[in-house]
Amino acid sequence: MKITDILTEQFIKTGLPGATKEDVLNALIDLAATSDKVQDKEKIREAIFEREKIMSTGVGSGFAIPHGKTDAVTDIVGALAVTAQPIDYKSLDEQPVRIVFLLIGRDSMVGPHIKLLSRISRLMNKEEFRSRLLGARSPSEVLDILRQEEATYLEA
């Protein structure tokens, strides 16, 4: 499964407002909840914040990948945002976060969930890719950058 299989412009935001980690997470959850695969937004919120308690999903270099599994979605749902300002995300490397990818999986579908998580975190570990994302001015630009990157990633 590709990232761009689950991500359309509808679920991408550039210049996402918000000053705290909570603001950004809530905004992303609201964005993801516009999907018809989402049956219960509050359950998702619970799962995401619950997972965040176990260990911060700020994996470093200004990127965070909040995720959770719940039975409140019928299929994997994702949302991606570039924030308007740097966010203190309690990341391990203490760097503020600008790029946040939210991934919500189904309880019973662990396999695809883990594959997508690994794929996303692998892509985001590239400095050059992150800076292109930060420079994107619209959701459609973000999507183009993602498509290109996934294409080259597949060839590699």
């Binding site: 049956q39 176990i54 990127f63 019928t74 396999g111 594959k115």
Partner: protein
Amino acid sequence: MIGIEYILLAGSVLILISTAIGKLSDNLGVPTLVLFLVVGMLAGSEGPGGIQFDDPGLASSIGIVALVFILFGGGLDTKWQDVRRVLAPAAGLSTFGVLVTALAVGGFAHYFLEVPIEYGILLGSIISSTDAAAVFAVLRSKNVSLKGRLKPLLELESGSNDPTAVFLTVGLLAIIRTPETTLVNLLSLFVVQMGLGGVLGYFMGRAMVVLLNRLRFSYEGIYPVFALAFACLIYASTAVLGGSGFLAVYIAGIVLGNSTFVQRKSLFRFFDGLAWLSQIGMFLALGLQVFPSRLVPVMTIGLLVSGFLMFVARPLSVFITLAPTTFDWREKLFISWVGLRGSVPIILATFPLLAGIPRADLLFNLVFFIVLTSALLQGWSIPLVARLLGLAAPLERKKSHPLEFEPVVGSDTELVDLTVPYHSDVVGRSIVELGLPSNSLIVLIGRGDQYLVPSGGSVLEAGDTILILVNKADLPQVREILSRRKAPDD
């Protein structure tokens, strides 16, 4: 006196027919309860079965016992996590909402059908509660999946509104028979009934959990027997003490269903079977008690009241009660439509028969007719209405994947997915070097598009997703290991 072998023969044949006919419900889209009722009616003295059964007292007793098990089973199946968020609206619907329905129907019967006002409200009270068995059956069937809070709300409402209807019916009968009964008397009685029912149900539910876990029965088969007797004890003792036994068993069921205890799976199975038997037995008995020819004279008035209930009284009650909530008009409309009437009204309709008030049999037939129309029309059309209002969620797709897991009940081990931070000290180290807690295990490593089955020598990379089986108590230690930063000169 008929020999027991004949009673058993008739009973077993009827139940077997009912179990077989349950399959039809999937194909025809008719709620199962209607089919069971029809079997009962056909078996009765006016049908080909020719069984003589006219004993409202027995029918009522069967109904009450059956309802105890249905409510207890319904409670067991109710996930507290789901219902917690709909507690306030559900409580509103099952108390105030029920009252509005009863009064609206009473007013309609009085002003348009020239029924004495107290009889009108008695009729309204009898048909004021939605049916847990019917609603559970429709909502849990394979062809409806609802968005958001609707399902828990409707289930909680239907499970908890029967006590109010029972109370209103008993109260109205008291007023009709002893006119000096005052509203204040009734109101305080209501508070006592609900309060006592709620409190006793909660604590006896807790007690049941503790006892199940402490008492070590030598035979596994004893557990269901114990649970069965305890459920009856909860109903009966609460009722004897003046509380609502129905509310108590429902709440005790919820408490039990959301706790960890031994023999959980087998008890769930047992009560599931028992709830089915109760439903079949109850509807058969109620179907036998009704005489189809006596339904004909009440058809016109029955259709009028039934139509008023479905299209005016229930929506009115839902829209008033849920006005302060965030449910939108479509959701309210849908909630209004899932006002299925079922066994409780029929059981309650035997109360006036037993109380011996005038024209009670007319009332019984009328109620029976109303339940039939509601179950048929609403029960059949709910999936359609959900789709029309845009409230149906896509049906869950069942896929199979290399990994599926469920949380293990009663174990404090969890399977957690963690991402290896880009600058973590563990990057470039092998798993044996990490010093993970002794009883934790990395089950799988996700790297890019690959799954790696780890061995002790596997080296972690930045951005790896690890699926780790870990004791809850050890989670902080695992987090600490993964969060250690690589020294700048490393």
